[in-house]
Every structure is written in structure tokens, then in C-alpha cells.
């Protein structure tokens, strides 16, 4: 009798199932596109890494979830922040000097006591900093289109965005976003005075109708040409296992090693843009310069502003450093996102509850009232921190960031529970109180108490997977 259907025995079926399972298993552990060499920039741009697919519960919105009264916003002088002269002005010289005496004594005592996370090897890892030179203009070491005797690169804003994203993600950035500068709104997020050296006043940042950027540190100004209308804002992810061990020297490394990477990446980006034929104005400081990073990250749609004033992204929570550059390469204007974070912060308050310095505002609703304090911006409705208290504490203990560790969003995506939590917050805010309680039940404070165990972990490159 002729066979009209191919027959498969049960044994063959199970064998095939096993083989296909093994194939799928191997495919899942191989790096993506490992068999596809990248031949040119167009191919690089076509790779999925060039565009980040956001979770389905992240909504794109017209206005950010944090309320901003743009006419009230003034360009901010970086000199006032706690990391510049702000702390000294707020505390007074005597108290300020005492903070650093306390920090030195604490460090010495804790090394002598072999306190977990603050031993000599922990101090060594924190202090293992090495920065590439950062500057406003950039390294200027790559060829220009003129030197190559070719016209400069031209693409649509969307193509340019994809190209820049591909470049940055290849070199270590997690999120990449764009903001078009508008004189009445986003341009006000550029500092009026840039970051200076130590506590010194930095150079003035003038936005003028010039063709080329100018830096004159002797006379104390930098000029951003008006035609450089686009900000590229990107994040560098920090290691969870460091972040989860706060108030230790080893835990504090989570910030510094990403600032180290930023110094290298910024120069690479500036050289990349130079060869394409565009200016790329960078941060002339290792930590923060040029503009309000959180503001740009929120306006670009990388995340929402949290209770502590940092940006929280749907993917990595609070665990990233945000960096920026300004360019004249045309780019699309990003839009803010809403994934329920701002509303969740109103009920959660875990950071405020567990802040060792009691510096985080526990109020349910944010406020427009900045208390008239010189180190606070105007025109933004937020939960105002007690910045001097926070900054003095973290300097005394040589690094804190407990708020980063305890945040319910500071979890990786291995657990399906955490995806369920994020999805619920985005779609059903009525359950927000339940999720805070659930976070306490499953993760306690969210801190890994075994600071010394870090050295025994078998971590992936950069400490995250």
C-alpha cells in the first residue's frame, strides 16, 4: 500500500525533538550575528543593536511625567551643586573641612578593622581610576572629510540617529536618545556656567550664532554654536553586584568605573563625528558637565525622573550613569516616556525609608517649592532632597548610594517576577502599594549584606549580563 503521509515513529519523534532542542539551546547561547561580519556602516546601522526595542508597556508621551514650568526654568550654574562649591557654601568652611577629616579617619579605621567591603583591596578597586583626557572640543585626532578630500557624510535625521546609536551601543552605551534644543525649553537645560576644576567657578557657556565652537579658558568662556542644535544623551550601565553593596568602598566602584569608560567613549564619539564632518561638543569633566543630564534623559525618553531626582529607565532602573554631547548632526527629537514610575515613587518611598542620612524627602506629592535655596533649580515639581545632608554623608562614609541599591527597579530581568512587577506598575497603578510590600517580602532591604563576597563572584564582563 502506498504511503500518502510520511510516518514517524515515537522514537524518531523524540529523537528529533531532542536534536532540535539541543540546536535551539546552542543557538540561544551563541552571541547574536556571530557568523555575520559587519562590512560597512550601513550594515552596522541595520543591526538590531542600532535601535533599542522598548518593552510594550512603555508609553511615549508628549509631556514628561515630572511637571516642568519652562518659563520659570533658568539655566543653572554648575558651580552651585554639591560636587562643586555647593557643599562648602551650605555647611560653612569648618564643617566642610570636618567632613573630609571624618572620611579619612573612617577609611583608615575600616581598613584596620578589616570591615567587609572597606578593606585595603576594596579601597584599591575604588581608587583604580584612569581617565582618558576629556574636553569640550574633543581629541581632534581622527581625519576630517577635508583631509580625506571627500564631502561630509549626509543622512536623514533617522539614519543619523540609527548610526549614532549603533556606534554608541557598540562601544558600551545601553540607552541612546536625542533632544533637539529649543530656546524656550530644552536649551535651558544647558548650564549657564560649566563645570570648573575642583571648587572653582567653571567657564561661562554661551550659545551664539557662530560657525565653530570656541574655548577660551583664560577669559573663562566656551561658545556653543547655535547651529549645534542636538543633544545626544546616553547611559552607561553599572554593575548590579557592586551597586547592591552600598556604604562600602567596593560598592562605590560601580560609579567610578563607568566614569572611566565615559572618558574614553566620549573621545571616541567626538572623533567619529569629526570624521563624518560634524562637531561634537563634549563634557570637559570626568563626572558631570555641559547640561542637566537627568533633564535631557527624561526629555529624550530614556526614562522617568524618580524621587531622588535621578532618571530611572524601564530596563535597568536607576543603575546607569547618564552622559551627553552636543552636535550639529541633524537628529530626530526624542519624546518622553511614561511607564508608571513617577506615580509609583509617590507610594513606594523605599529610598526615603532606608536612606541612612535621612536626606530623601518622604512626602507623597512632589512640590514646586524649592525653599529658595541657591543649589536648587526652579520651575520643576519634584521631591527636593536635603542635598547637603546627602552629600556630606556619602563623602564621610566614602560612598553611599543606598537609594540606588534599595530601589525596587534595581533588579535584573532574570526573574519573571520583576517583569510582572514592571508591567503592573505601568498598567495598573492601583497595585503599587502591593508591589512595594512584595518587594520588601521577597528582597528585604534590597541590599546584599555580604560585601566581601563580591570578590568570590564569577561575574560577566563589566559585571552585568
Amino acid at each position: 500500500m502506498a504511503k500518502y503521509h510520511s510516518t514517524v515513529s515515537r522514537r524518531d519523534f523524540l529523537k528529533a525533538l531532542g536534536l532540535s532542542g539541543a540546536g535551539a539551546g546552542i543557538a540561544s547561547i551563541l552571541p547574536p550575528f556571530s557568523n555575520q561580519p559587519i562590512r560597512d556602516l550601513d550594515e552596522l546601522m541595520s543591526l538590531p543593536i542600532a535601535g533599542m526595542k522598548r518593552p510594550s508597556w512603555v508609553k511615549i508621551v508628549e509631556k514628561p511625567t515630572v511637571e516642568i514650568d519652562w518659563p520659570q526654568i533658568q539655566r543653572f550654574d554648575y558651580h552651585h551643586v554639591m560636587w562643586a562649591s555647593g557643599l562648602k557654601r551650605a555647611l560653612g568652611s569648618q564643617q566642610y573641612d570636618q567632613v573630609f577629616v571624618d572620611a579619612r579617619v573612617n577609611r583608615r579605621t575600616w581598613i584596620a578593622e578589616n570591615r567587609p567591603g572597606s578593606t585595603l583591596k576594596d579601597v584599591a578597586i575604588k581608587e583604580a581610576n584612569h581617565y582618558a583626557p576629556v574636553s569640550f572640543i574633543g581629541p581632534q585626532t581622527s581625519p576630517t572629510p577635508e583631509s580625506l578630500q571627500v564631502p561630509r557624510y549626509v543622512g536623514t535625521p533617522e539614519e543619523n540617529a540609527r548610526m549614532v546609536t549603533a556606534f554608541l551601543r557598540l562601544h558600551g552605551a545601553s540607552h541612546v536618545g536625542f533632544v533637539e534644543l529649543d530656546t524656550n525649553t530644552t536649551e535651558k537645560l544647558i548650564y549657564s556656567y560649566d563645570t570648573g576644576v575642583g571648587e572653582k567657578q567653571g567657564p561661562r557657556l554661551d550659545i551664539l550664532d557662530w560657525d565653530v565652537p570656541v574655548e577660551n579658558l583664560e577669559e573663562g568662556y566656551r561658545i556653543i554654536p547655535k547651529k549645534a542644535r542636538w543633544v545626544i544623551v546616553y547611559t552607561l550601565r553599572m554593575a548590579d553586584e557592586l551597586m547592591k553593596r552600598p556604604i562600602t568602598e567596593v560598592g562605590d566602584r560601580s560609579h567610578y568605573y563607568m566614569y572611566n569608560l565615559k572618558s574614553l567613549l566620549q573621545g571616541q564619539l567626538q572623533n567619529f563625528m569629526r570624521t563624518l564632518g560634524y562637531m561634537c561638543l563634549g563634557e570637559a569633566a570626568n563626572f558631570n558637565a555641559l547640561g542637566v543630564h537627568t533633564g535631557f534623559a527624561v526629555m529624550a525618553g530614556l526614562g522617568e525622573m524618580s524621587r531622588i531626582g535621578h532618571v530611572i529607565t524601564p530596563e535597568y532602573g536607576i543603575q546607569q550613569r547618564v552622559q551627553m554631547v552636543i552636535t550639529d548632526l541633524p537628529l530626530p527629537n526624542g519624546k518622553p516616556v511614561d511607564f508608571g514610575l513617577h506615580v509609583f515613587c509617590k507610594t513606594c518611598k523605599k529610598c526615603a525609608d532606608l536612606c541612612p542620612a535621612r536626606a530623601i524627602n518622604p512626602a507623597t506629592e512632589p512640590s514646586w517649592d524649592n525653599g529658595g535655596l541657591f543649589y536648587r533649580a526652579t520651575g520643576i515639581k519634584r521631591w527636593w532632597l536635603n542635598e547637603p545632608l546627602c552629600n556630606a554623608y556619602l563623602r564621610r562614609v566614602n560612598g553611599c548610594a543606598t537609594c540606588f541599591a534599595v530601589c525596587p527597579y534595581s533588579k535584573r530581568h532574570n526573574m519573571s517576577y520583576n517583569d510582572l512587577f514592571r508591567r503592573s506598575v505601568a498598567t495598573n497603578p492601583a497595585l503599587n502599594r502591593f508591589w512595594r510590600k512584595a518587594d520588601d517580602l521577597f528582597f528585604g532591604s534590597g541590599i546584599h549584606a555580604d560585601a566581601d563576597k563580591f570578590w568570590e563572584l564569577d561575574l560577566p564582563p563589566f559585571g552585568y549580563d
Partner: protein
């Protein structure tokens, strides 16, 4: 998880074949209880495994207690209900007067 999914699929296939072979009568709500139980059990196992990978001490045990225990109760219920029903039916067959007398 791939292995867990494959094993769960094979176990489910085996269960269906066994139920058909033995001609066991299963009601829709027993299927539902069983599906919920298995879903919750897989959720528990996945989260326990991930919690250990992320070095959350004690979290895996909390997952076991909060989700694993109800999962086992649901699975036990979905298995016990048809079994109890078949026991009652067997009793009725062996002793037909007991129902007619009532």
C-alpha cells in the same frame, strides 16, 4: 528554562496519553486547577533559579513558600478530585442499592 519547558511538555503529553488510556473522566475545572498549578510551579522554579543566579539570599525560599506551596496544593487538588470521584463511582457500582435506597 528550555529544559524545564521541554520536560513539562513531555510530562503533559504523558499525562494526556495516560488519561485517555485509563479513560479517566476529568472535568473542565480540574483541567483549569491543574493548568494553574503547573503554571505557578513553573513560575516558582524560574524565579527560584533566577534569584539564586542573582545572589539573593533567602529570596528563592520565599518564592518557594509564596508561590510553590499554592502551586502544589492546586496540582494535588486537580489530581485528587478525579481520583476521589472514581472512588465514589466504584463504590456505587459495587453497591448499587446504596443510591437507589436513598
Amino acid at each position: 528554562m528550555f529544559l524545564a519547558g521541554m520536560l513539562a511538555g513531555i510530562a503533559l503529553l504523558g499525562l494526556v496519553i495516560y488519561i485517555r488510556y485509563k479513560n479517566i473522566d476529568i472535568r473542565w475545572y480540574e483541567w483549569l486547577l491543574g493548568a494553574l498549578g503547573i503554571g505557578l510551579l513553573l513560575f516558582t522554579l524560574q524565579n527560584m533559579d533566577a534569584a539564586l543566579k542573582e545572589h539573593w539570599e533567602g529570596t528563592h525560599l520565599t518564592f518557594l513558600l509564596v508561590f510553590g506551596a499554592p502551586a502544589l496544593v492546586l496540582i494535588a487538588l486537580s489530581a485528587a478530585l478525579p481520583f476521589l470521584r472514581s472512588l465514589i463511582r466504584k463504590k456505587q457500582i459495587n453497591n448499587p442499592d446504596s443510591t437507589s435506597a436513598k
